[in-house]
């Protein structure tokens, strides 16, 4: 709408209101104010508009006219705030488009598919709480009969976490030993993180190598949420224990390795703390509370199981995700 037009409209609405009063005109006034704002009419011009329209309808004394000079003076400063608004918005838009590209780049850092072995069934659910994820997982396969899996949580969010994640991915890719030892890998990654990252930032990780011949999972842990081993024979979940300092804390850290064996039907469940961290009403969810949800879905495929657990937990916390969520299920068939 043209400015001229807006002026005329304001006159008409104000005159009608002065004549008849009534909510109708005020409603039209509110609608018009949106047009005025959209048309970049600053508040000081609204004041002028008002005085102009008023003068056409009624006697305006010299004193009241003078008072509008003061009001204009005041409103110019308010106009500055509104003009600033426009520039803030456009800056925000630009920043957000940068975020979007970063999110797309992050996507490409995640593996396209899960390792494929005839006697293994693997499922993954990975959902960021916000645009940019701080959770990361990776599968690396360099040997015929083994693959490695990493699951990590970067403490810190947004863009810095994304930068850290890309660093970890390439540090992992660059680790040039054909048969990866989990303790050595964490040792290597710890040095990279420690050297390159802000001291306030750190990373928790579980890194393991699954031997598909012997069905043994050898892993090391850096301050990460413990996973579970499901034993099919006695239908019980036990913690995948392991101690180790988070990555990025000290330059030289050792990570001890643990090993578990999987029988047919057994399962590994790896996850980040976002799976557990949820508030239900006023109560905090506990790690033990998870077990019935895991038990309930046994028998499905690994992917279906992971999907259903995610959906049921999300429902539980009223569709709100407070933290990034990652769960990997490795099922020996």
């Amino acid at each position: 709408m043209q400015k001229e037009n807006l002026l005329t409209q304001y006159q008409e609405i104000l005159q009608a209101y002065l004549q008849e009063g009534g909510e109708n005109q005020l409603y039209l006034g509110q609608q018009l104010s949106k047009w005025l704002l959209a048309g970049n009419v600053p508040p000081e011009e609204v004041i002028e508009l008002h005085l102009g329209a008023l003068s056409k309808k009624t006697e305006v004394s010299e004193e009241i006219r003078a008072s509008f000079e003061m009001l204009t003076e005041i409103m110019i400063e308010y106009g500055n705030a509104i003009r600033e608004n426009r520039s803030l918005r456009s800056r925000q838009k630009q920043m957000e488009s940068e975020f979007e590209i970063a999110v797309a780049m992050q996507q490409t850092m995640l593996p396209d598919e899960v390792p494929d072995f005839p006697d293994l069934d693997i499922g993954v659910v990975h959902v960021p709480a916000n645009q940019v994820s701080g959770d990361y997982y990776n599968f690396v396969q360099r040997e015929d009969h083994a693959f490695s899996v990493a699951i990590a949580d970067i403490v810190g969010k947004g863009m810095p976490a994304a930068l850290c994640m890309s660093m970890i991915k390439f540090a992992m890719d660059s680790f040039d030993e054909s048969s990866v030892k989990p303790g050595r890998m964490l040792h290597h990654l710890n040095r990279v993180v420690e050297r390159n990252i802000d001291p306030s930032m750190f990373v928790t990780m579980l890194f393991g190598r699954y031997d598909t011949m012997r069905h043994r999972f050898r892993y090391a842990v850096a301050g990460h949420e413990p996973g579970f081993l499901f034993c099919a024979r006695d239908e019980k979940f036990t913690d995948l224990e392991g101690k180790g300092l988070v990555l990025g804390m000290l330059p030289e850290t050792c990570f001890s390795e643990k090993e578990v064996a999987l029988e047919s039907g057994d399962m590994l469940i790896l996850m980040t703390d976002g799976v557990v961290e949820r508030k239900i009403g006023t109560r905090y969810f506990q790690r033990e509370d998870l077990l019935p949800y895991l038990h309930a879905e046994i028998g499905l495929s690994a992917q279906e199981m992971a999907d259903r657990i995610y959906r049921r937990l999300l429902l539980l916390s009223n569709f709100e995700l407070q933290d990034d969520y990652t769960m990997i299920i490795i099922h020996r068939l």
Binding site: E23, L26, Y27, Q92, K93
Partner: protein, 133 residues
């Protein structure tokens, strides 16, 4: 608690009626001119969203009391298509884009309390409260 005033929103004139009712109740409760206008404005936004984007809906206005405080509560409900992404609709910037949910961040900031529920295909329910100081 009194029975709430209820205005079905079918035509644009119903928006005006709802505004007027809100303004009147605010005046009865002793709110000043600005608060009367703010409540009318908030009701207007909610009613207009119903008028523009839902086939039918209503605005209920109620005087409420809690811990000795008196306030005005407004519930706007419709059986429309629902807001797909509430989080997005409550973000600034979205409000100027027009469309369902436009103006909601502004309404929220005008009021003391604001709750919204929406389900795709089932409709939207917004409740706002403004306490008298």
């Amino acid at each position: 608690m009194e029975m709430p005033y209820c205005i079905p929103i079918l035509t644009e004139q119903d928006i005006v009626t709802a505004r007027q009712m809100g303004r009147k109740l605010a005046k009865d409760l002793g709110y000043g001119m600005i608060f009367q206008s703010r409540i009318a404005t908030a009701i207007s936004e909610l009613a207009r969203n119903i008028f523009l984007y839902a086939d039918s809906g209503s605005v209920k206005i109620n005087i409420i009391e809690k811990e000795g405080k008196v306030g005005l509560a407004v519930v706007a409900e419709d059986q429309g298509q629902g807001i797909r992404d509430i989080k997005k609709a409550m973000e600034d910037g979205y409000s100027t884009s027009g469309g369902l949910g436009a103006g909601l961040p502004g309404v929220k900031r005008l009021m003391d309390q604001f709750t919204i529920e929406s389900q795709a295909g089932k409709g939207t329910r917004v409740e706002i409260v403004k306490w008298r100081d």
